[in-house]
């Protein structure tokens, strides 16, 4: 095998991986963007993601329909989000602490309920073969795009538009930037945040469905490996902008695909280091984009991390 083809194979695998791996990042980060734009942080989305993966897989196994799985994952995620939103509006409750509690709770509940579903196999979500024009199997594999990825891409454009052009979008931003102003306008800030956290949970749940029903496409306890948490960091990196979330998700997805891609062309030395690429990238980006002399630009004013 020539070096030239090796590099092309790696690049192609990274592009394909970016598309394949980014979808959960995308859904979780879009959900968290909605939540954080309303002025609340939900760190529990990791737990929601895992529970979404489990409930989607279980539903798909039992009903035979992957879309039913997606729907159940979304509902379960929404329930987690509403729970988080409800608990946080109680007096003297810290949203970060509740988020961590719900992260552990969601994962634990998913492991407990998901034990019987590790063995059976579920029908996967359909993908569209955009690589049909090529004879190369690598190209075909890279361009098999799942429907949920397209939905997520459309959703990020829609959210970007909606934050500027809809009443609901503006109200979420008002609640996130100045609770006093929202109250002065007669809006119930707690309710806005409850719905925003619920919506964020729905999207995180759907992200989980993608994990178990498409890629990697099975249910096990290590399925998320912290992707939900990384997606929260990604929201900060994307400066709470849904379009930037899309780009950042692709970047993280590509970094996540680097390890397997190198392994596939026979680079076996130290590939575990490449598996760590997304985590190193998270750390590096957060360090590079922060500064002791600047406030976080674009951060919603009510967020507990910017207060």
């Amino acid at each position: 095998m020539s070096d030239g083809l090796g590099i092309w194979t790696v690049l192609l695998a990274v592009v394909g991986g970016a598309i394949r791996v980014s979808t959960p990042f995308l859904f979780v980060s879009l959900g968290e963007t909605i939540t954080e734009r309303s002025g609340r942080i939900n760190l529990g989305l990791e737990g929601t993601l895992v529970f979404g993966a489990m409930s989607a897989y279980a539903t798909a196994v039992m009903s035979g329909s992957p879309w039913a799985g997606v729907a159940v994952a979304g509902l379960a995620g929404g329930a987690f989000g509403l729970l988080h939103g409800y608990v946080c509006q109680l007096p003297r409750v810290n949203d970060v602490a509740i988020g961590i509690a719900l992260m552990l709770f969601g994962s634990g509940l998913a492991f407990f309920l998901g034990k019987p579903f590790i063995q059976p196999s579920a029908p996967p979500l359909p993908a569209i073969p955009f690589g049909f024009w090529s004879d190369l199997p690598q190209v075909q594999a890279a361009l098999r795009v799942n429907v949920l990825f397209l939905v997520g891409a459309a959703l990020s454009v829609f959210l970007w538009w909606a934050f500027r052009n809809t009443k609901a979008g503006l109200i979420v931003r008002v609640a996130g930037d100045s609770a006093d102003a929202a109250r002065a306008m007669g809006y119930d800030v707690d309710r806005i945040r409850l719905y925003a956290t619920g919506a964020g949970g729905v999207l995180a749940g759907i992200g989980g469905a993608y994990l178990s029903l498409y890629y990697p496409g099975s249910w096990n306890e290590g399925i998320s490996s912290g992707q939900g948490l990384m997606a929260v960091a990604l929201v900060i990196f994307a400066r709470w902008n849904p379009l930037a979330c899309f780009g950042a998700a692709l970047l993280f997805g590509g970094a996540g695909a680097l390890g397997p891609a190198l392994q596939s062309v026979g680079v076996s030395q130290g590939y575990y280091l490449y598996y760590a690429a997304p985590y190193v990238l998270t750390l590096a980006l957060l360090i590079l984009t922060s500064s002791p002399n600047r406030a976080l630009a674009g951060a919603p004013g009510e967020l507990s991390l910017s207060k």
Binding site: N165, K167, D177, S178, M185, R294, A297, P300
Partner: protein, 518 residues
């Protein structure tokens, strides 16, 4: 589901408002007692009173923020039950608060549209923009509505707040100290235009103010509150300034500010700022101070409209932000605001909003008073460091300072956040001014304090100067600057643009430079 009655029709012209027997108690404290006041449609009414006299309580009761303990409001001659600000808005009542209620990250246009109760679910910006520019062409102020509010200067924000209320069809407008963030020229412009609207019968204005000059120039009628009661009022012009002042403060001796004794020492330069540049944390505002010197026994007042870089200058001197260039020199050595440096050169820094910036709000008064030397043996800043707190010495020192500086507190062990604003400032001054001081930097020391506290705190500052300290006074209160300063420097858009000796200062010229006409 609560049934919401159809909103009453807002008339086209100005609305009159009357309060009858308004009383508001918070627990045992009576903030407002039996206040009956009439503001005729098309009037321009001023509400005067000291801090804590009940002015804000009264207007908040009218706006539905508070439910009055007893009494009611008539709007346009009819009794109106207003239970929240939204209800007030539906009746044509609007209020511009002292703090901004605009949403910082939204643009002006977004702020206006979302404040409307009938904002559409999907906003068609093309048509909204056309409607807004149509509306703005009839407005007294020209504003850029496409920029995020966070990027606007304080004066522009204030204008936008007023425009917002007019956009929401307010026909009765309450202004809470509207000119505190405006330059004198801007204040004239804004109040003059609002006065013209009342003269045309389009609007009624109720203005809370401290400034007699403004009241005399723009209001037609006035009322004075003292300790929650209505103590007088009438037509502007019938009352002299002395009448108004004595109504506001009652029978109480006010100490005047101590005279400055002795001349600045020209040979003893304490603070020198050379070519300092810095940027604030949002990265939006920059300052560039070419050259600023403060000598011993001299008060240099930095005047300017808020948001022109004073905060950044203070933050550099206090060590909160790093300068990107230049040097700050204190007594011949480079100074960066570190604890050891401020101890060595006897520099004291009193930031604005002392409760937030100079205190740990939940720690006790005694602990807050000990901040400067708690880690030194015997609580003496000149002694070597110690590991253990000397609670006994801390307590004794606190009791002594509380007595000497007349800090009103339940006990030296009470959390400092329970003290009133004036007493927090007294406690901070007690901490910072007991030992000899070479350089004192104070920022807005009297913001939000009442008459008595103000004169006392200004006295302390002048006394420190007379004792030989160099004082840099950064203040948004021009009267304070004029009263205290040996030398006045005007700051505008991050630069020092004008300098004049305090004795021969002309308010008009200073005002022009504050407003950016150099």
């Amino acid at each position: 589901m609560v049934l919401i009655p159809a909103p009453p029709q807002i008339p086209d012209g100005a609305i009159g408002v009357e309060t009858i027997g308004m009383t508001k108690r918070f627990g045992a404290f009576t903030a407002l007692e039996d206040v009956s006041m009439t503001i005729a449609a098309g009037g321009f009414h001023a509400l005067l009173g000291e801090n804590g006299a009940g002015k804000s309580t009264l207007v908040k009761c009218v706006m539905g923020f508070y439910a009055p303990t007893s009494g009611h409001v008539l709007v346009g001659g009819r009794e109106a039950e207003i239970t929240n600000p939204k209800g007030a808005q539906a009746r044509g009542l609007g209020m511009v608060y002292q703090h901004f209620t605009l949403v910082p990250s939204l643009t002006g246009a977004e702020n206006l549209v979302i404040a409307r109760s009938d904002a559409p679910a999907v906003i068609n910006w093309a048509s909204e923009r056309a409607a807004l520019s149509d509306f703005m062409s009839g407005m007294p102020f020209k504003l850029n509505l496409d920029r995020p509010v966070a990027e606007l200067a304080a004066g522009e924000k204030q204008k936008l707040e007023i425009v917002k209320q007019l956009y929401l069809k307010a026909r009765f407008l309450i202004l809470d100290e509207p000119t505190s963030v405006l330059t004198p020229a801007e204040a004239e412009e804004v109040l003059g235009l609002l006065r013209a609207m009342t003269d045309r019968g389009d609007l009624t204005v109720l203005m809370i103010s401290h400034k007699f000059r403004e009241v005399e120039a723009f209001a037609r009628t006035l009322s004075v509150l003292r300790r929650g009661r209505l103590v007088g009022g009438g037509a502007v012009g019938e009352l002299s300034r002395d009448d108004m002042a004595s109504m506001m403060i009652g029978e109480r001796a006010i100490r005047t500010v101590a005279a400055r004794i002795g001349e600045p020492d020209p040979s003893n330069e304490i603070l020198r700022i050379e070519g300092v540049t810095a940027r604030d944390v949002s990265g939006l505002r920059e300052i560039a101070i070419e050259d600023l010197r403060v000598r011993a026994r001299e008060i240099v007042g930095i005047a300017g409209v808020s948001g022109n870089g004073q905060k950044e200058l203070a933050d550099v001197l206090g060590g909160q932000i790093r300068a990107t260039g230049g040097r700050v020199i204190v007594e011949g050595e480079v100074y960066s605001g570190k604890r050891a440096e401020s101890r060595a050169h006897r520099v004291r820094f009193i930031p604005e909003e002392p409760l937030r910036n100079a205190c740990a709000p939940r720690m006790s008064v005694a602990e807050n008073l000990a901040f400067r030397a708690f880690d030194r043996r015997g609580d003496d800043p000149d002694k070597p460091p110690t590991l253990w707190l000397n609670k006994g010495a801390m307590g004794r020192r606190a009791k002594d300072l509380i007595a000497r500086f007349k800090v009103k507190t339940a006990s030296s062990e009470a959390p400092i956040a329970t003290l009133s604003g004036g007493n927090v400032q007294r406690a901070v001054l007690a901490r910072e001014l007991t030992d000899p001081v070479d350089l004192l930097i104070v920022v807005n020391p009297c913001f939000g304090l009442d008459f008595a506290a103000v004169s006392e705190i200004r006295n302390r500052i002048v006394a420190a100067r007379n004792a030989g300290a160099a004082v840099l006074l950064i203040s948004e209160d021009l009267d304070e600057i004029l009263e205290l300063s040996d030398r006045i420097v005007v700051m505008s858009e991050g630069r020092l643009v004008y300098e004049t000796p305090g004795a021969s200062a002309e308010v008009g010229v200073i005002g022009q430079h504050m407003a950016g006409h150099h």
